[in-house]
Amino acid sequence: MFEYAPAPESRSVVTIAPSYGLFIDGEFGEAKDTFKTINPADEEVLSEVALAGPEDVDRAVAAARRAFEGWSTLPGSERAKYLFRIARIIQERSRELAVLESLDNGKPIKESRDVDLPLVAAHFFYYAGWADKLKYAGFGPDPRPLGVAGQVIPWNFPLMMLAWKIAPALATGNTVVLKPAETTPLSALFFADICRQAELPPGVVNIVTGAGDTGRYLVEHPDVNKVAFTGSTEVGRAIARSVAGTGKKLTLELGGKAANIVFDDAPIDQAVEGIVNGIFFNQGHVCCAGSRLLVQESIAEELLASLKRRMSTLRVGDPLDKNTDVGAINSAAQLARITELSEIGATEGAERWSPECPLPDRGFWFAPTIFTGVTQAHRIAREEIFGPVLSVLTFRTPAEAIEKANNTPYGLSAGVWSEKGSRILAVADKLRAGVVWANTFNKFDPTSPFGGYKESGYGREGGRHGLEAYLA
């Protein structure tokens, strides 16, 4: 047996301070309370971070408001150069940021290094170029920024979600107050340092760390003109309610329960890769994860055998090991939810399978898991698990596949695998989802609009479409 020796990425490229304050008006400052952020792979405390209260959020919003006048009237070409500068600094510091992201989030270094960070830099480059071309974007001859954007992001792609929020907001002349997720605040704080390195005017970007309450203060703040949220549908619903009647512009990127549909004429080996990538990428902590595999019954057995064989080669463990495929679950709470839903899956009669896979003693871990014999009535086929757990269902005809795929309140993404072009196009047409990956999965690009139908939210991030959320 060919065993790879451990190949850890060096931690020495990143220096994490023992504590971090809030980044308001270009300065780091203390808050009354703090909380600890840990490495989910070993439960060690990484740093102690300020917990922003209502008065801190007030100060941040006020700083953003003050900065708005200057920033929004700056020529677009000048705003562009700041964003280009930020993009470059991100590229220069990308290994440091990748290691940091893996430490705080638990994701494998090969993903933070090869997926997250390149996309983060690319996102800033893309929107930098829009800053002085907004009148050509199709939103009227004189599109105006909205003002102060309150942005709340999740823990699954901390820096990437920050980029998706901040880059278009700044390009369009808005100023921002961003709240990173409670369990992954560090890369946003490093980004604050990048803003300083780029000499971004104070107050244009403000980072307030904290938990759910901090986020609520921010989205409910009366002087916020725009709310952008990525996270769970439950919280999105609450935000939509709280924003009702205020006139704040709102975009939401919420949960999903994507169907990944494999037809009998699919390129099987690539489909297996797509299934694996669809649900085990980033430990399945992906809102657009292909968490429901819909496989044509005639090839189900063969496909599942291939899938199980492939899953047996997944390497679960130290996120900083360059050969790790599946890292740590982000938090104890998330692990508890995945565990609970998986137990429900088994109780409800679905057949559970995981490859043999030793898990570390400390930290939060969950072996890649599939459930076969799942029907639409099972909770694991309906509820977002947000973990490395795949529900396998079968179908007989294209119509049945489409019906099952759409039979969910969500509508974020979907996958289709077939070598027949006309089938791909017809199925893609009928899927009620904002992103359809045909013969591929989990692909992202700054130029490509991303966002959901139905309860997966509204608004698009990425591409020309992504500007609309920040323009009046």
């Binding site: 060919f2 790879y4 020796a5 090969k110 699919a266 390129p267």
Partner: protein, 316 residues
């Protein structure tokens, strides 16, 4: 039971049209997907003990090759000597798997290799183009075997394959296999000329159905030789073929593999696609010449702890 039904049940096609139906019924290959997968496997980091193990295995898998018009008995003798003792300064260095030469050169290699356990492979069948009448190809094969080759690397008729004449390609392989007698048959698909991954998969199956002991990517004589995605498809083919027919077939990427880093990527690919059973010189070979010296240099770096230089390794 009819003959057709029998062959269907055994999975062997019994006519040209059946063959076509079968090959075109194989799952398609998505180019972008297979290339992404191959590239991802290429990012595995293999260090320290794993690397040492991989280098020795790779050396044992080398078909040390010279296929030049300028080949002479002296060159072939020297190469064969190197095959037996790749690193004369280090007795722990294993020999390579085989020496691979033109048929006319087989007797000179055989002199050196006799009784050593290092195999003697010869390209035959009007290598590299395959554009010769069948009887010439068969005579070529028989001569090489008679001169001492225990492995034959044949080329398929790419022209016939691309023209859709699968039956002709199939029959030629069957005939050459018969001419090989007890010698192992490696079937060179010349994937660079097949142009698409779908064709690589079909040609792999065609060769295996016709009796190939090994399927091999390339002659090394056309611009595109072995690549990771092509090898991945061939590995998937031998895996699926064994699943279906119970017979294991070997894989040999050849041409363009020059560095240890490249070789290790192939080993990782075997490890994660078909597993242990193919991590063996009996089932996987590298068709290469300059690769060996890079493997030796890396091996020396690991054993001595400092970087090696090319002047310290033989150029035969």
């Amino acid at each position: 039971m009819t003959a057709t039904a029998t062959s269907r049940l055994s999975g062997l096609p019994d006519s040209a049209s059946d063959l076509r139906t079968f090959l075109h019924g194989l799952p398609g290959v998505d180019k972008v997907g297979v290339e992404a997968r191959a590239a991802a496997l290429g990012t595995r980091s293999v260090k320290t003990t794993a690397k040492a193990q991989a280098i020795d295995l790779a050396i044992r898998m080398v078909d040390l090759t010279t296929l030049e018009g300028a080949d002479t008995p002296g060159k072939v003798r020297a190469l064969s000597a190197k095959a037996l003792r790749p690193d004369p300064s280090d007795p722990t260095c294993p020999p390579v798997a085989a020496v691979c030469v033109y048929p006319a050169m087989v007797p000179f290699a055989a002199e050196v290799l006799a009784g050593s356990g290092v195999h003697l492979a010869s390209v035959a069948t009007a290598f590299p183009s395959g554009q010769a009448p069948l009887d010439v190809k068969l005579a070529d094969t028989r001569d090489a075997v008679a001169a001492g080759a225990d492995e034959i690397d044949m080329v398929i008729s790419r022209g016939a394959f691309l023209a859709g004449d699968y039956g002709k390609v199939f029959d030629e392989i069957v005939a050459v296999k018969e001419a090989c007698g007890s010698a192992h048959l490696k079937v060179i698909l010349e994937t660079g000329e097949l142009a698409t991954y779908d064709n690589v998969r079909r040609a792999s199956w065609l060769a295996m159905l016709a009796g190939a002991d090994f399927i091999k990517t390339s002659t090394g004589k056309v611009p595109v030789a072995a690549t990771l995605p092509v090898t991945l498809i061939m590995l998937e083919a031998v895996r699926d073929f064994r699943e279906r027919h119970g017979r294991q077939v070997g894989v040999k990427p050849a041409g363009g593999i020059r560095t240890t880093k490249d070789a290790i990527k192939y080993l990782v690919m075997i490890n994660e696609t078909v597993g242990d059973d193919w991590l063996d010189p009996d089932w996987f070979r590298f068709g290469a010449s300059s690769l060996l010296n890079d493997l030796l240099m890396q091996r020396t770096k690991l054993t001595t702890g400092h970087y090696a230089g090319p002047d310290y390794f033989t150029l035969d």
